[in-house]
């Protein structure tokens, strides 16, 4: 089924007199004939008036909310606070756990910078209003961070048990990311539900654990990093989508 530019013009002029050329097109076009007929028929679908009592109640509820929150909080305040909080949690975790990555200092710092940038950028975009390139941010951020992590890996194998040390990393990464994720999801309830936003936010907060482990974990083999560092991070992004779907929404603003 294709619609011509003339069909689009008819659509835009619905409810108004059509110029002669468009009227001739509409007369011979099955799409436009149907569109015009449906537009006229829909006239009958008027709805009852808003009950008079409901509007004062709705207005009073809105004004009561305004009294509770008299000052405007720009969206970026929450987003910057989240990015700062995430960086602080990752920093404290790195200080407490120590840096044991065996890669060169430059490689460790470069990867840490990529992860920090990905964390801050994703947090800001996840909470920013309006249409944003969220899918691009999610895929791009994850791809760049994942590739940086694997290319900057030391390749060092400390010789501990594969599963035992791996599970320690997995659990640590999830635990370190729980508080940032909870904070981010709370902020996300101030905007309309969106699975993509939740995934981007989950990825941003999951970087906290990823970054702390990048600095701390001495195991630099791909066989350890992929299943116990990268996959739990992807799992946190998916988990954020599932949890957000269960949370109530405080504001439906886009």
């Amino acid at each position: 089924m294709t619609f011509t530019p003339a069909c689009d013009q008819v659509l835009e002029l619905l409810g108004r007199p059509l110029p002669e050329a468009l009227a001739a097109h509409a007369h011979g076009c099955a799409h436009c004939t149907a569109t015009l007929a449906a537009y006229q028929a829909a006239e009958a679908a008027s709805v009852g008036s808003t009950p008079e009592l409901a509007l004062p109640r709705i207005r009073a509820a809105a004004l009561s909310e305004l009294a509770k929150q008299p000052t405007v909080r720009p969206w970026w305040q929450g987003a910057l606070a989240l990015a700062g909080f995430n960086a602080a949690v990752a920093g404290v975790a790195a200080l407490l756990l120590g840096v044991q990555n065996r890669a060169s200092g430059f490689a460790v710092a470069a990867v840490a910078c990529v992860l920090l940038a990905s964390m801050a950028g994703s947090a800001l975009l996840a909470l920013a209003p309006g249409r944003r390139p969220l899918a691009f941010t999610l895929l791009g951020g994850m791809a760049v961070s994942g590739v940086a992590l694997l290319f900057g890996a030391s390749g060092f194998e400390p010789g501990r048990g594969f599963l035992e040390s791996g599970l320690k990393c997995l659990v640590s990464e999830v635990l370190l990311s729980v508080l940032p994720l909870a904070t981010g999801l709370f902020l996300l309830t101030r905007t309309a539900p969106s699975a993509l936003r939740a995934a981007v936010l989950g990825a941003a907060c999951g970087v906290v654990g990823l970054l702390a482990l990048h600095l701390h974990c001495p195991n630099g083999t791909v066989g350890h990093l992929v299943p116990f560092h990268v996959l739990p991070w992807l799992g946190l992004a998916v988990g954020a989508v599932a949890v957000r779907a269960l949370l109530p929404t405080r504001s439906y603003a886009p």
Binding site: T50, P129, P193, S251, P254
Partner: protein, 178 residues
């Protein structure tokens, strides 16, 4: 002539409660009518109208300078209706996964209720994406550019939805005119 919606919204974000009152007076009824067509339940439409204006208050920090107010407001109302539909328990939906029909006209006045209900039911049978495009265009009189902003899609996508929606509506109402 009064202030534009955008000027009022700017004044509201600066803390002027009166500006909110003017916006509420302008849009409470149209938003309620829109939601009534979207959810087909008077009680639910009232709740969602309240959720919409609470969101305007809570989310006013997300209104961007230079943006149009009307598409922003209808985006909020559409999001509220979608979320309500998503959260509904399966037993509250019909077998087709839609809301029960026939409730939209429950507080209607002395009009042709049979015809009105038939058209409303036909609207309710449209997929949500087509229904929101048609309701915003036909009844709320938003331009396609404004609908695109409200629904977060491109203008050409909205036009395709509207074309298909009107055609489907025509099919559903065929028996009415013949």
């Amino acid at each position: 002539m009064g202030d534009s919606d955008e000027t009022l919204m700017q004044r509201f974000t600066r803390g002027e409660e009166q500006a909110f009152d003017v916006l509420f007076a302008r849009y409470a009824r149209p938003v309620h009518a829109f939601l009534l067509r979207m959810v087909a339940s008077a009680a639910l439409a009232e709740d969602l109208t309240q959720a919409t204006f609470l969101s305007v208050v809570r989310g006013r920090g997300r209104f961007q300078e230079g943006a149009r107010f009307k598409p922003w407001l209808y985006a909020i109302a559409t999001n509220a209706a979608r979320d309500q539909h998503r959260r509904r328990r399966p037993e509250e939906l019909t077998q087709a996964g839609e809301l029960p029909t026939g409730a939209a006209g429950e507080d209607a006045g002395p009009r042709d209720l049979g015809l009105e209900r038939t058209v409303q039911r036909a609207l309710e049978q449209l997929p949500e994406a087509q229904r929101s495009a048609i309701v915003l265009h036909r009844f709320q009189e938003l331009s396609f550019a404004e609908i695109a902003q409200a629904l977060g899609v491109t203008e050409s996508a909205v036009k395709v939805r509207a074309h298909r929606g009107y055609e489907r509506l025509r099919e559903l109402l065929k028996g009415l005119k013949e």
